[in-house]
Amino acid sequence: MGFLEARGRQDAIAFAQYRAVAWTTGVVLASMTLYLIAVYLFGVERSALYTYGWQLHGLLYIFFLSFVARISIRERWPMLQTVLVALSGTVPLWGIIMERKLTAARKLP
């Protein structure tokens, strides 16, 4: 396996890891946002899941940031793109939308 081929394979693995964490973080964030709306708009009772769910998102977001940092080095992202992708993990659905855009951009010739 040549150097470039190995490098490309490692890039693909890093991007796949980013996608997995982006989706996990995004799904947890979207779910917890729905729960929050249910609690504050419809008076649904807060259970332990509410507390632990937000704590899980906080933990996942740290992992998410580390994967964003890694992939931004490998793919030489500009500063603005790194910041926007990093922030996308804090806005419901934006993280998933961002992941779809980045994946589509990588598949372009």
């Binding site: 332990a48 507390t51 740290i62 940031l65 500063m79 990093a86």
Partner: protein, 236 residues
């Protein structure tokens, strides 16, 4: 049509000075929030501090509005005058009092300046209407909100953060006053709250985790800045 290249001065501002200022602002902001969480994590520790002093000191010497209660003010004696907003009274689960384990009765007290402080004022339900009082007691720091589920008056913890959600007015202190004598009792047999030292050493791990998280955000901001400089150097 030709596109004018930015001058050297403009490029330096755009590529170096503006990003550096932005990163410093973000990193300092993150570290400030981390420091705030760090202080909160340790604020609930060591409730015996200053508890032995019998001097009555003015509240403004002991605490600042909307700030953590300083550790040196925990347990300090003070006198607060104002009116009890009895409509918002609630009782907690049983806690230590001079008459053994009894529910604490908590009522907001509004000072002449309009500030509101939670006062643990003894047992007995209040009469209707706001009542002028002058309360001598000892200051205590806010306790943690429950780790799981929403806070209700039935919780034993007395959390200022939870009171902010419960009462329709801001609460002055991140703490409360435990009255030395019962205030406005209608039931003579009701318990007198007693200043009791809570177990020390209970660090708030939740706040500590938030402090670490904010520090990591500051590191990430510095990382983005470093990557920006590397990208610029590669471009040149």
């Amino acid at each position: 049509m030709s596109v004018e290249k930015p001058s050297l001065a403009n490029r330096i501002v755009r590529d170096y000075i503006a990003p550096t200022i932005a990163v410093i602002a973000v990193a300092v902001g993150c570290l400030a929030l981390g420091r705030w969480q760090w202080d909160a994590a340790w604020a609930h520790q060591g409730r015996q501090v200053a508890g032995s002093s019998a001097d009555i000191r003015p509240l403004h010497d002991l605490a600042t509005a909307q700030q953590w209660l300083p550790r040196t003010s925990i347990g300090a004696r003070t006198r607060i005058g104002g009116e009890l907003l009895t409509k918002y009274t609630f009782t907690t689960q049983a806690r230590p009092t001079a008459s053994g384990q009894q529910p604490w009765v908590v009522t907001p007290l509004r000072t002449a300046a309009g500030d509101v402080i939670a006062v643990v004022r003894g047992g007995g339900l209040p009469q209707d209407g706001n009542q002028p009082v002058s309360v001598v007691g000892r200051l205590q720091p806010s306790e943690d909100s429950p780790a799981v589920g929403a806070w209700t008056p039935a919780n034993a913890e007395l959390s200022t953060a939870a009171l902010v959600d419960k009462w329709p007015f801001p609460v002055l202190l991140d703490g409360y006053l435990v009255a030395e004598q019962p205030v406005q009792l209608v039931d003579a047999s009701a318990a007198t709250p007693r200043f009791t030292a809570a177990p020390s050493g209970n660090v708030s791990w939740r706040n500590l985790a938030y402090a670490v998280q904010w520090a990591l955000f500051a590191v990430f901001a510095l990382f983005v800045w470093w990557r920006h400089l590397v990208t610029l150097r590669e471009g040149e």
